[in-house]
């Protein structure tokens, strides 16, 4: 109680628990996700998830639904999607409205009586930490036997860590964080090329959250391409969180796809620092590796969730960070990162793909290198 009171009240807009639950259902490979609530709820992300190959539909509760409840609408929609999409796994996600009026998702599932397993997530957007949405989805998946107890426990630890990472140096670290586009890509690209030309040794760390890795990996690729072009390939050490034996099925698939692409392009990943859902803890592994082996390196290019890399292991180097969060610029500058670059609108471009996608910064590096 007391602790809760001390929490800061964050006023900038943030992703909601409902959206977090939707993405988790996606990772659990549901074929259809039903939003039980008003038609516009979580629209932007629902739309993006459709690009990622899952069907997202809504019970479209209106004023009548608010007053009289939406049980019948949910039963009808469960039956309809089963007919339309022939799904093997369905997810239902609550919304603020349906939770406030006390809708029982389970009653509707019982009444619809489908042969398809349904993951019911009773969630609204009123949680301080949006990771709650992930947790509720996983709890429900555990109850329905979709994931194992072991995987659930593992995910729970990761979520707690993810929450802490955001509170320490992330989007939940300050009451208000203004969005920023960060440093100019052209300038930073030129600087990296200069460092390589001077024979400086560098580390790339891709510490990406799940599918965002499809684009952050391109920066690892670009740095290596340029090092090769300049004949200093051996001056670069690569780390990435692409262990394809960890995480939910879809997350493992991403790791495998990205690794295949690295191999195909001849990029050697010297150290795999964890799975693609381990971005909150993989930073510590990278930190330890650096302390043991690479503490005398000159610069580090960190992509994905750069603020999860402990500063003490990299503070002696020049730090170049690439994030997709415009609100992440200021906290990372405050941490001591020398350059912070934002890959704006990265996420939409990494949904529904199975290969590395070109990043703006990667493209900039390649262009600037051409001029050399």
């Amino acid at each position: 109680m007391e602790k809760e009171k001390k929490e800061i009240s964050i006023i900038h807009p943030r992703p909601s628990s409902i959206v977090a639950a939707l993405y988790t259902l996606r990772d659990l490979n549901v074929d259809v996700a039903i939003l039980h609530g008003p038609p516009g709820c979580s629209f932007k992300h629902a739309r993006l998830l459709e690009e990622d190959g899952i069907h997202v539909v809504t019970t479209s509760l209106d004023e009548n639904g608010f007053v009289f409840g939406g049980h019948d609408e949910l039963v009808a929609l469960l039956e309809k999607v089963t007919e339309m999409f022939n799904p093997k796994l369905i997810g239902i996600v609550g919304t603020c409205v349906s939770m406030i009026i006390g809708e029982e998702l389970h009653d509707a599932v019982l009444e619809a009586n489908l042969d398809v397993p349904v993951i019911e997530v009773e969630v609204h957007a009123g949680y301080r930490n949006n990771t709650k949405g992930v947790l509720f989805a996983l709890e429900s998946a555990l109850d329905s036997g979709i994931i194992t107890e072991k995987e659930f426990d593992r995910q729970k630890v990761l979520l707690e860590e993810a929450t802490m990472v955001e509170k320490r140096h992330g989007a939940a670290s300050k009451e208000y964080l203004a969005p920023s586009r960060g440093d100019v890509k052209y300038k930073v690209a030129q600087h990296i090329i200069d460092l390589l030309k001077e024979g400086k040794r560098g580390i790339t760390i891709m510490n990406a959250k799940k599918e965002t890795g499809y684009m952050f990996a391109d920066i690892t690729v670009a740095v290596n391409e340029i090092a090769k072009q300049l004949g200093v390939e051996s001056n670069i050490v690569n780390m990435a969180n692409i262990d394809d034996t960890l995480g939910l099925p879809r997350v493992r698939h991403h790791a495998k796809c990205i690794m295949d692409d690295f191999n195909e392009r001849g990029i050697r990943i010297h150290h795999i620092i964890g799975g693609m859902d381990e971005y909150p803890i993989a930073g510590d592994i990278a930190g330890k590796l650096i302390e043991e082996k690479y503490s005398d390196y000159d610069f580090v290019v960190i992509t994905g969730v750069p603020h999860a890399i402990p500063m003490e292991s990299i503070s002696g180097m020049e730090i170049i960070s690439v994030t997709n969060g415009p609100r992440q610029v200021l906290p990372m500058k405050e941490m001591g990162h020398d350059y912070v670059i934002v890959e704006i609108d990265l996420h939409p471009k990494t949904l529904g793909v199975n290969n590395i996608v070109e990043s703006e910064f990667g493209a900039t590096l390649r262009e600037v290198a051409k001029e050399e």
């Binding site: 608010f66 007053v67 009289f68 406030i100 009026i101």
Partner: protein, 267 residues
Amino acid sequence: MNDSKKPKIIAIYGKGGIGKSSTASNVAAACADEGYKVMIIGCDPKSDSSITLLGGKRIPTILDLIRSGVDITEDDVVFEGYNGVKCVEVGGPEPGIGCAGRGIIVAIQKLKKISKVQEECDLVIYDVPGDIVCGGFVAPIRKGLVSEAYVLTSGEYMPLYAANNICRGLSKINTPLSGVICNARNVSREEEIVGKFAEEIGSELIAFIPKEQIVQDCERDGFSVLEKAPDSEIAQVYRNLARAIMSRNKSVMANALDDERLRELTR
């Protein structure tokens, strides 16, 4: 009757089952008998506020009509009952489903849009359900429709507890209390206890309605006392209450008692 004056719009709050609808409909009937233009707006999902003014018949509710998707006009939802009393029922979901509070908000907004009857009346009574458990239940006040709030209670502990809570809620939303009404349950020192309660919260006991079987009997037949037993003593009590309400122009910001004092009061 008073064309130039603004209508008196009141709401009667109190613990569920304490007799709000009975009191509201009898007061409405008594005022109509006095020649006032009266309207009663039932905000309980049970939609039974006006039933004794309509000879035991139910009328279509605003929410039922909204739900069915038809275009609603005044004639669809405003019905004339005993002695010209205009009757409206908000309606609402089955118990335990949906949100009755939101229902009240939606329905009274709709009513305001389609009907001007309220403005033409001398007295409008909002019969609001039970305790003020959520924002919807104070919507008639919050939306600026209700100008006077009354609290109905017996001398029993729980109804007084609820009444006290309601007073706290009213103060919180800056709504003054116009009076306390006692609907007796025949417990010891009832008038004294409720009178003292009214005094201590800074208000007044404006009526003591004794418990009479005849009220029940009339209700069972689907009528108000004023219609079915106009010569009864209790009918006169309602007439007096009606006059008190119509002539009342005093209200105070209630000071809710703390739990201990409330308990002491009822001992």
